[in-house]
Symmetry: C3
Subunit: 216 residues, 3 copies
């Protein structure tokens, strides 16, 4: 079992984002949201890079057979919103393969089928126009970007209704520890408020305002 993944599964994107603030690395992916509300994903990145077709063309999506169960597919389509790189065949096959979910810097299609099979997809929106003959896969498992956040193969990708964050695997242990501490402090604040303390008091007692402040 991947112990660090098990720890991150208990954390949400908010706590992880605060922990990454503390170590001073950007992790919060802008504008990529779940297609289906209520999904939570956490796994290691299998990265895919798409490029526009020109004189050179290629294929889309055949990498799927190489993804391992539990991984999160991270597709860098450079934010293109005029053609799609994910659809019903991909979603149903990925689900069958035991893949955790897909995060796209771009758009997907076949929303009715994606919703129906409940395979988690996070994207910048949806559209029906195919990527075939428009873009092609030019690399897999290379460093890619999601809205200006770097994602390397094996990095930890976490998604929930607030969006997606990425933790570099080299810092994962440290980030998990900070995030767990922030989560604990926030639970303490809520417990104090429930007991009748003012929010301001509860926060002062737990050092809330600087939980995520970057250390000098």
């Amino acid at each position: 079992m991947d112990q660090i993944i098990e720890r991150f599964k208990k954390l949400d994107t908010t706590c992880v984002s605060d922990a990454m603030d503390k170590i001073g690395i950007e992790c919060s992916v802008y504008g990529i949201k779940p297609v289906q509300s209520g999904e939570k994903i956490c796994g290691r990145a299998f990265t895919v890079h798409y490029a526009p077709c020109g004189a050179v063309k290629g294929t889309v999506g055949d990498f799927l057979d190489d993804v391992e169960p539990g991984q999160v597919i991270v597709i860098d389509n450079a934010g293109r919103d005029n053609c799609t790189v994910w659809g019903d065949i991909m979603a149903k096959t990925a689900k069958k393969y035991g893949i955790t979910g897909t995060v796209i810097d771009g758009v997907c299609r076949d929303i009715p089928a994606v919703l129906e099979c409940r395979y988690p997809v996070f994207s910048k929106g949806y559209y029906m126009r195919t990527g075939k003959d428009r873009v092609y896969v030019d690399a897999v498992n290379v460093p890619v970007t999601l809205s200006d956040i770097q994602v390397c193969p094996g990095d930890i990708v976490i998604g929930d209704d607030t969006g997606v964050v990425v933790v570099p695997q080299s810092r994962a242990e440290e980030v998990a520890e900070i995030a767990e501490n922030i989560d604990r402090k926030e639970q303490e604040i809520l417990a104090l408020v429930a007991k009748g303390y003012k929010l301001k008091e509860a926060r002062a007692m737990t050092g809330y305002h600087h939980l995520q402040t970057k250390e000098k």
Copy 2:
């Protein structure tokens, strides 16, 4: 019965978009999405064009009495998002008249009522500011545009959770046939994957990568 409409009712926007790729005509409407998830519409277009009020003013929405049951109202409000051209009275009356749905290049209002009466509306968003005294209907049943896609009266308009596509009535038969073939091939791929074939193999066996490629 309108046979071609019955055939398109069995197809989704994705297959139709691919089929239109094959004949080389753009059909995928950008940025117009269902107000209510889970709706599916298919019918012939009754088109409406709005223009801004100036020295000349006019009325909004009175065309509704002229729409036939089963038609889809297509409103070209030039993408304006600062005033609305659809609301609760329109939705409830259209529902009563047996109209299939409304697609707006613009925004609508009265979202609680629209959701409650379950009349399908596809739009670029919502806002409450009325179009009255801001825009007026200057033509009905003329060619209009939805996000740069041409829609003529009688064209076939299909909408689902992925968005909206438009098929020119002069090409409808041909497009239905291509789309039905693509749909069949995609079902074959899923059946092969279910049997244990790799996705790449299943796609190669069915010619997936070029189902929608434009013929020279």
Copy 3:
């Protein structure tokens, strides 16, 4: 009991927007939408202004202890979408305090928790990156803006699935009366259509096209 609030609770954002058109004051907040569909809020504004951190820093959110039950918190974060000013601790504490809801010209986080505790939040979207060390509260209960609409402390804020409108307290009585009249006329139109009148006739009989027209 706050009689005028009770009257506005029976009106939706659409009718109020039309009534404000009639008196010639903009009230329709652009681009701020409910996090959770189906919520309706109505209450007096407690306003909060955020400014960017620089050499001068400050705290976030401690104003919550000063908000009265029934009030609506209006946060002017200048539309910033790169850091958040509302999250799970704020939502759960506000709920406990009996606050009606929060409207943000900006973004919030902790969407799973906000949805779970069903505290109404209206915002320009969501993201996980904290506002801590990025923005701070520099004033409360001063005039603020929501997408270019002025909100003064004590103004009436109404939100539903269509969005948010603001009524200046000095004009509240007058606006309520106009909005109630518009609502009545619109019910009449629907009743006439139900009886079999054409929409155009029903509208002509009730003066629909000019219900909201500004008086000279």
